[in-house]
Assembly symmetry: C2
Homo-oligomer: 300 residues x 2
C-alpha cells in the first residue's frame, strides 16, 4: 500500500502539472515526532489551479483513543487493544489530495485513499474521490460519476450505489443541511474481503483519479466568467472550509494526532468568502446548485 501510494503521488502530480502547464509541484518532506512522516507536494499560483496539494502520510506509533474514533466510523474503533500507556499502537498509510482551480466552472476535486492497522490484527481500508463544482454541468457529472462507477463495477456491482450514497451522507455540512459538493464515492472500515482484493480496488481507484477529473478541467479551463460567478465560487469555498474544519474525519484525525498542520490544512482554499445570509435568486443556476446539495441527485 505504501509503495502504491508513493507511486500514485508522483504520477498524479505529474499529470496535473502537465494539465496546468505553468506551475509545478514543490515537495516538502516532514517527520512526525511520534513516528513516521510524509511528503507533501504542493502547486501554487498555477494557470489552472490556485492551489493543489497531494499529501502522502505514513505514520505509526501510539494513538490516543479519541483520535482513533476520528479515524473510523465504527463507534467501538474496531475494538483495538490500548498499550500500557493507554494508547493504541497503529500504522496508517494515506494519500490525500485537494485541488482548487481558479475558474468557477472548473470544479474542486478531493480524493483520499488510506490503509489502517492497529494491534491485534485489526486492519481496514478507506477512501474515496469527490467533486465540488459551483455550477451544475450534467455532462461533467456523468463523466465523473461514470468513471468512478466503472472502476467500482469491475470489483463489485454493489460498490458504486453503496459508496455514492455514503459520500452523500459523509460530505454533508450538517448545520447547513447541504452537501459540500456533488459527491462521488466514499467508504471506510473495509475489512470484510481478502485484503489483496480490497487493495486492488483501491489501487485501480488511485490510478483512475486523473481520468475522472482531468477531462472536466481541460474542457472548462478557459471558460469566460463574471465577477459575480467568481464571488459565488468564493462563497462555496467558504462552505468547503466549514465542512473541513467542522466535520472532516481526516482533518480532525490529523489535528488530534499531532500531524503536520500545513499538510493537513493544505485542503483549505486560497481564498474563501462569507456573505451574511446570501440567498441565490429563485430559478438561478446558483439556486439549482443549492438544491442539488440539499437533495443529492443520481448522475449515472
Amino acid at each position: 500500500m505504501e509503495k502504491m501510494l508513493r507511486e500514485a503521488q508522483i504520477s498524479i502530480t505529474e499529470s496535473i502539472a502537465e494539465i496546468d502547464g505553468t506551475a509545478s509541484f514543490e515537495e516538502d518532506a516532514w517527520l512526525r515526532p511520534d513516528g513516521g512522516g510524509g511528503r507533501s507536494r504542493v502547486l501554487t499560483n498555477g494557470s489552472v489551479w490556485e492551489k493543489a496539494g497531494v499529501n502522502l502520510s505514513i505514520v505509526y506509533g501510539g494513538m490516543a483513543p479519541q483520535a482513533l474514533e476520528a479515524a473510523t466510523e465504527r463507534s467501538d474503533g474496531g475494538r483495538p487493544t490500548p498499550g500500557p500507556d493507554g494508547k493504541v499502537p497503529f500504522f496508517a498509510a494515506s494519500l490525500s489530495c485537494v485541488m482548487h482551480p481558479r475558474n468557477p466552472f472548473c470544479p474542486t476535486m478531493h480524493f483520499n485513499y488510506r490503509y489502517f492497522e492497529t494491534d491485534g490484527g485489526i486492519w481496514w481500508f478507506g477512501g474515496g474521490q469527490d467533486i465540488t463544482p459551483c455550477y451544475i454541468n450534467d455532462d461533467d457529472m456523468k463523466h465523473f460519476h461514470g468513471s468512478l462507477k466503472k472502476v467500482c463495477d469491475k470489483h463489485d456491482p454493489e460498490y458504486y450505489p453503496k459508496f455514492k450514497a455514503w459520500a452523500d451522507r459523509y460530505f454533508k455540512i450538517q448545520h447547513r443541511g447541504e452537501t459540500r459538493g456533488l459527491g462521488g464515492i466514499f467508504f471506510d472500515d473495509q475489512d470484510s474481503k481478502d485484503p489483496n482484493e480490497i487493495f486492488e480496488f483501491v489501487k485501480d481507484l488511485s490510478n483512475n483519479v486523473v481520468d475522472a477529473y482531468g477531462p472536466i478541467i481541460e474542457k472548462h479551463r478557459d471558460d469566460p466568467f463574471t465577477e459575480k460567478e467568481k464571488e459565488w465560487q468564493l462563497m462555496r469555498r467558504g462552505r468547503y472550509v466549514e465542512f473541513n474544519l467542522v466535520y472532516d474525519r481526516g482533518t480532525i484525525f490529523g489535528l488530534k494526532t499531532g500531524g503536520r498542520i500545513e499538510s493537513i490544512l493544505m485542503s483549505l482554499p486560497e481564498t474563501a468568502r462569507w456573505e451574511y445570509d446570501h440567498q441565490p435568486a429563485e430559478g438561478s443556476p446558483e439556486a439549482d446548485f443549492i438544491d442539488a446539495t440539499k437533495n443529492p441527485r443520481e448522475w449515472v
Copy 2:
C-alpha cells in the same frame, strides 16, 4: 439581563454606524424552533467595516447534554438535572459581536456577554471582549487593555489579571500554538458573588465596548496600506476562521443547539486566505505579530 443586552445592542450598533459614516445596520429577527429567538443587526459594505454583526439571542427550552458541555468550562456542566426527555431545561441571554474592518491597521473586535440558567437554581455569567489586529501597535493595545482593566478594577482588582490570562488561554488556536489575536478579557461560569454584583460588572463592560475599541478605529481608518499588508490581513482572517470553527465555545454551542446558522457564522470574515506554509520574514512586523500570538504579552 435581557433588557440590558437589548439596549446595549441598539446603542453599540448606533455608535458603530456613526463611526462608519456610510453603512447602517440591517435588522433580522428570528425565532428558534425549540424556544426563544433573537435579533441580528448586521452592517455590510461599510466604509470602515466590511462586515460587522451584533447578535442578540434569548433562547430557552431543553438542551442536549453535549450542547451544555459547550456552554460552560466546568466538565460537569454545573450538575444540572436533565428532564424526562434527557434534556436540560435552560435559559440563555447573550449578546455577541464581531466586527471586521477593511483596513489592515484597523483591528477586528469581538465581544460576548451572556447569562445562563439551568434547572435547580444553577446560573452563571460569562463574557469578554478581545481584539485581533494584524500588526502590533503598543499604544492601541495599551488603550484597549487599559480600558478593560479600568472597568475590571472598579469591581474587583483580581478580575483583570485573571480574565486577561483566561483570554490568552481561551483564544488559543491549539493546533497552531498561536492565539487568535492580542487578547483582552474572557470569563465563564461566574457564580460566586451576588448575581446583582456580577450583573453590574457585565453591564459596565457592555457600556464600555465602544470606548475600548472606537478610538483605535478612528485613529487608523485612513492609514495607507500595501497589497502585501492586505494579504497578511486575509491570512490572519484565515486563522480567525480556524479558531471559530474548531474551538469557539459560542459557535459550537450555537451549531449544537440548532441556533440560526447565519447569526452564528456572522462572526466569520467576508474574505479569508490560506497560503501553503507561509512564513513571515525574520525581523518583520508580521514575524513580531506571530511572536506575540505564541508568547502572550502584558500590555498594561
